[in-house]
Symmetry: C2
Subunit: 487 residues, 2 copies
């Protein structure tokens, strides 16, 4: 993520990475708020919604999570009456799972057994009773791709194979995905999501991708992201998932299911169905044979605790011999406080618990209003097209740029990068251009996180609207002026 951010910065002001590295994002962007003559621009500070990092964008952490964490760190806090009884009970229970009763001791590399147990019970409830075995769950530190997915891929990818190992990945996709695959000696085989159908995954596109791989590599795995990311929006239906599973079974593909936004579904018709559940519902022989890894994290969703570096992976139908090897790969234990947060994520306060009313207030102050407003405002411009936001944390609208803007941009930049640069300079909004993630030839997109406080989102939409009108006017006027000149 930081890498991505650095890329942003690089094209923003052309400074070298090394210089940029020590500059902190939001606060130091102030220098952008002055123009080259040192005159203040129209905005007071840059709003950075290029990351999936709700706290950075001003979302408040969930009190229950933070209270439990603070009590675990400093148990003396439990002596007074400042903390609710359910906070104290939770912290007490979690401390008892730590060696020496301290979150400062090492934990097993796979995670604290009682927390793994909590996670497995959560999965069982989520999946309507489909069995979940704690020994198939690994609690993992940090970012999905940098460690967790890579660990699984290490098992799947033979870097010396000829032809090379292929992994099907969606487009749009994070560039880190492709970098990681390449570093492992694998080939990324892109399958395009269907923007017109709200960034849907269509099995025909998977087949097209497989066809494209012929003679290039040997595809062994299929990476899917549900709810969608980086394009956001789409939540796969049970029918879609079952089709994908049948496809994977037929083609003998290992399923890598990135399900980190499973708690972020807003579409009225949408429902999160896990790949694990869909697989179980298909029944034997597929339910006993299709290999699946499902990822989740405390960094995403309602908690947004990116700084704690905690997630988990559940492995389904893996050969016991492979599991033993994977056991050795997960040699970096998750920070204990991250594990504590995972426990709260899978066991939030329930109705009747003393902390429930505040928790409910927090999660209700959530995204429904942002989703509605983003769709409304963006789609009010004919030069934008935003698919319905069913889930995930991002909007990824298409922008129809005037030909003159495209022409001007292409002197040095991709057109949507040019747009995002201008958006940053003139409106103080840090978005990502679609070109960073891959998009259909000739289409341009902008991407931004919708997990912000409501008033921040209003400010974002106001700045974006003002900027966009000016930008479009400039290049249409510029076009007219040029046309006049050439006449």
């Amino acid at each position: 993520y930081s890498c991505k951010n650095t890329i942003h910065l690089q094209y923003v002001n052309g400074k070298k990475k090394k210089t940029i590295k020590n500059i902190h994002c939001l606060s130091v962007f102030i220098f952008l708020c002055l123009n080259s003559q040192g005159v203040r621009k129209s905005y007071r500070e840059v709003i950075d919604v290029s990351w999936g990092d709700p706290h950075r964008a001003g979302v408040k952490p969930l009190s229950f999570v933070r209270q439990v964490l603070a009590a675990c760190l400093y148990p003396q806090l439990m002596d007074g009456d400042k903390l609710m009884v359910d906070v104290k009970q939770r912290a007490q229970r979690l401390l008892e799972t730590c060696a020496g009763g301290s979150v400062g001791s090492y934990s097993d590399t796979a995670g604290i057994p009682q927390i793994i147990q909590s996670v497995s019970e959560y999965i069982l409830r989520r999946d309507g009773g489909v069995p979940c075995h704690p020994e198939n769950i690994y609690i993992t530190p940090g970012s999905q791709w940098a460690l967790t997915v890579t660990n699984i891929l290490k098992v799947l990818v033979n870097s010396e194979a000829s032809p090379r190992t292929g992994v099907l990945i969606p487009v749009p996709c994070h560039s880190t995905t492709i970098v990681s695959l390449t570093a492992l000696g694998a080939v990324a085989v892109p399958y395009y999501l269907s923007e017109e159908r709200g960034w849907a995954l269509e099995v025909e596109m998977l087949q097209q991708a497989l066809d494209s791989a012929k003679g290039v590599c040997n595809p062994v795995a299929l990476y899917i992201i549900n709810p969608g990311n980086p394009a956001g929006n789409y939540v796969q239906s049970r029918k879609c998932i079952q089709e994908v599973i049948h496809f994977a079974a037929e083609k003998k593909l290992f399923l890598l299911a990135d399900e980190v936004y499973q708690d972020c579904v807003y579409g009225k018709e949408s429902e999160f169905v896990s790949y694990k559940r869909a697989l179980a519902e298909i029944g034997a022989p597929l339910s006993d044979t299709v290999e699946l890894a499902s990822f989740h994290t405390a960094s995403k969703g309602l908690m947004g605790e990116c700084g704690l570096r905690a997630g988990y992976v559940e492995l389904v139908n893996l050969d016991p011999a492979v599991m033993k090897y994977i056991d050795n790969l997960f040699s970096n234990s998750c920070p204990v406080l991250g594990q504590v947060a995972l426990d709260v994520m899978v066991n939030p306060p329930q109705p009747g618990d003393p902390s429930y009313p505040l928790y409910l207030k927090h999660i209700r102050a959530s995204l429904a209003e942002n989703v509605r407003r983003v769709e409304e405002v963006i789609n009010s411009f004919p030069s934008f097209s935003c698919q319905s936001l069913e889930g995930g944390a991002f909007a990824f609208p298409r922008v129809f740029l005037p030909p003159k803007a495209i022409e001007k941009a292409k002197a040095g930049l991709q057109p949507d990068t040019f747009y995002c640069m201008r958006l940053l300079e003139e409106a103080g909004l840090l978005f990502s251009p679609g070109t960073e993630y891959g998009q259909m030839e000739g289409t341009y997109h902008i991407r931004f996180c919708i997990m912000t406080p409501t008033d921040t989102m209003e400010e974002i939409l106001k700045r974006l609207s003002t900027f966009h009108k000016q930008f479009m006017r400039e290049f249409i006027l510029f076009a007219s002026a040029t046309e006049r000149e050439t006449k």
Copy 2:
């Protein structure tokens, strides 16, 4: 570390790793406290001092650290008057360095710039003014070997080179070191530490190691651990370090200096001198050319916050082109709370600060008494020999086992593993055998962490003494009995 622990468990009760994985160490060892008839053994619970994990062994965390962490997590704590003003100021200052003012947001992968700055100022003070450049410091997550050292080695080791790349490592050494080197395609070239001289590093042994590598591999790096570990004990003198640096310069070896126990020096004549400082004091041209990576962490020393997964590495004299590559390797950011702990580690409370008296009390209740008692009790047995404990966190005494014990052990186990198994079963003490770390042929050792509360160490020494007397008596009697029978 967990891996090592699992190994212990494997030989303890012969159960499979998968079963063991979900059993938590100290608390569940209770089953060992019953003999095969279910009768209680002489101890109530197992004391596990096989790890360098002070909190696990009952050492209390430093209040100042925990208060700052709790305040960062739950800033409402700063509203009342429960926390000292310096705790609040520190937490406030650290929160201002976090994006969105939350420890839940992503940080730069190299670390939060202001915390890197704190670390660099600490190093500058520690080294008597030798310059330290923040851009040479990376804040890293988790265990040294699993990530940090491996990242540096990735740059040094060419897995396809012929002959292969060699790295000089001390013996005794953690087995994970050798595993990591092998996984990278490198060859571990052991140099033996001199037990008779208190586990000293002697340059002649480095030369012997280099000689042994001829025709086998091409050594490019020298890994040193100061203060010593896993053998503990030795703190290298300035003279020793300078000799090592001259040797490294002459042989063009990259120095990997594991200095994680730099705050743990107890020998009256001992002083920690960093490799960085010694290198600077040698002066040009060596001070500008010898390449060095120095490692430190919040897991060790007085803080012992293993669960937070935080450390740093400082790189000296690396080629800028290499630095750029390393920049990309450190792609896993350290948990933000771990970074907060590092800030406190390098900036503990000072005289005059409100938190100083309690802090001083904590750190005074430290290891001097344990060190004295361990040396006294262990060396009261002629069949033990414990080198003077100058620094580090471990005692690594040699044990002179009776021939009959060696003979009995060798049916299935290394003799010191056999001793440690019996020690665990009969006295409820979890130590490590020297055989896990490598030792001179025909010598046997046991290893245990000395970072425990004073009363725990008394209990450990009491159990060890009782067990050791019985064990020695058994095998000397056994010898007599066998001799009688054979007559």
